[in-house]
């Protein structure tokens, strides 16, 4: 498994464990002609073929979607028989919902953003040398009442090769 995928899986596992324990208030969503239900907020990888229809589906139940954004590399170091470069890997966690806040009686994006931030700050997946660092969160899109926000988190790792 590539390092990129391994870290993505670790982030998903971390968030899934947290989402399962959030208060029902955050996960409640209205149902036509019925009592509100607890939305099964899902944590998954970013879809291979994103579409408006998929956005609507994800927002319907609430979803937390993780995707790899890219890496920035530091300067090369050569010492003894090792060559090393620092690698800052960025991941975006996108949150889909029909509600911005739980007070709107849906799976609230604001609360889920906070939960993701708190669970990822300092989180140290295998293969990283320093814990997660929050970079920014921002509005992504809104389509027919389906909202998406994203939070970007950096993880520090290294690429090391013997020479």
């Amino acid at each position: 498994m590539s390092v990129i995928v391994a870290i993505e899986e670790a982030i998903k596992d971390r968030l899934q464990a947290e989402i399962e324990g959030v208060p029902e208030l955050i996960k409640m969503m209205p149902v036509l002609d019925g009592d509100p239900i607890v939305a099964p907020v899902r944590v998954e990888s970013y879809p291979s073929n994103p579409s408006e229809q998929l956005l609507l589906q994800l927002a319907q139940t609430g979803a937390v979607v993780v995707r790899y954004v890219g890496s920035k590399y530091g300067s090369k170091r050569v010492a003894g028989s090792i060559v090393v470069q620092d690698r800052t890997m960025s991941y975006e966690v996108q949150i889909f919902s029909r509600s911005l806040a739980a007070r709107d009686s849906g799976s609230g994006i604001y609360e889920l953003l906070d939960i993701c931030a708190l669970r990822l700050i300092g989180f140290l997946p295998a293969g990283c040398v320093d814990g997660g660092e929050l970079v920014q969160d921002d509005f992504v899109t809104e389509v027919k009442g389906a909202w998406a926000y994203g939070i970007v988190v950096n993880f520090s790792s290294q690429v090391e090769m013997p020479i």
Binding site: R77, A79, G80, I82, V84, T88, D130, S157
Partner: protein, 146 residues
């Protein structure tokens, strides 16, 4: 035969390789890999050299030895232990009043500078220790200490 400086550096590498805390994680030069697997570790290098006296046919020289200690995190305990081991190794090499395989006539502790480095992937503590060591060469023969 290499320059006396180089011979001293080579002896320094030998003395500092295999210490209890840093083991084989010793690198000649100023560049440390800065990975979790190479800490705690050492970088060993030479600083500048100045003449300190001599005769009409020989020059007394003082060369600076730089030992950089690298330890993960904001550390005092491990780096302090490494400093103890480095100093013991260097002064333990004194034979007949001379140091470094009898190449040098004196060894003087020159101080340390400590910094916590947060740039880069791995936050770490770097302690730069300097020593000054004196040796003498006959003028025109820089590769043999006398």
């Amino acid at each position: 035969m290499s320059h006396v400086q180089t011979q001293i550096l080579s002896r320094l590498m030998t003395l500092l390789t295999g210490l209890p805390t840093t083991g084989s994680r010793v690198y000649q030069g100023r560049v440390h890999p800065l990975t979790p697997g190479t800490m705690p570790g050492l970088c060993v290098s030479l600083g500048g050299e100045t003449p300190t006296g001599g005769t009409t046919k020989a020059t007394q020289k003082e060369v600076e030895l730089v030992v950089d200690v690298y330890v993960g995190g904001d550390d005092y305990t491990v780096s302090g232990q490494v400093q103890v081991e480095v100093e013991a190794a260097l002064y333990g090499d004194r034979v007949g009043g001379r140091f470094f395989n009898s190449l040098a006539t004196n060894l003087i502790y020159g101080g340390e500078r400590r910094e916590f480095v947060t740039l880069g992937a791995l936050k770490h503590t770097k302690v730069s220790i300097t020593y000054k060591t004196e040796y003498q060469t006959v003028d025109g023969v820089a590769n043999a200490a006398n």
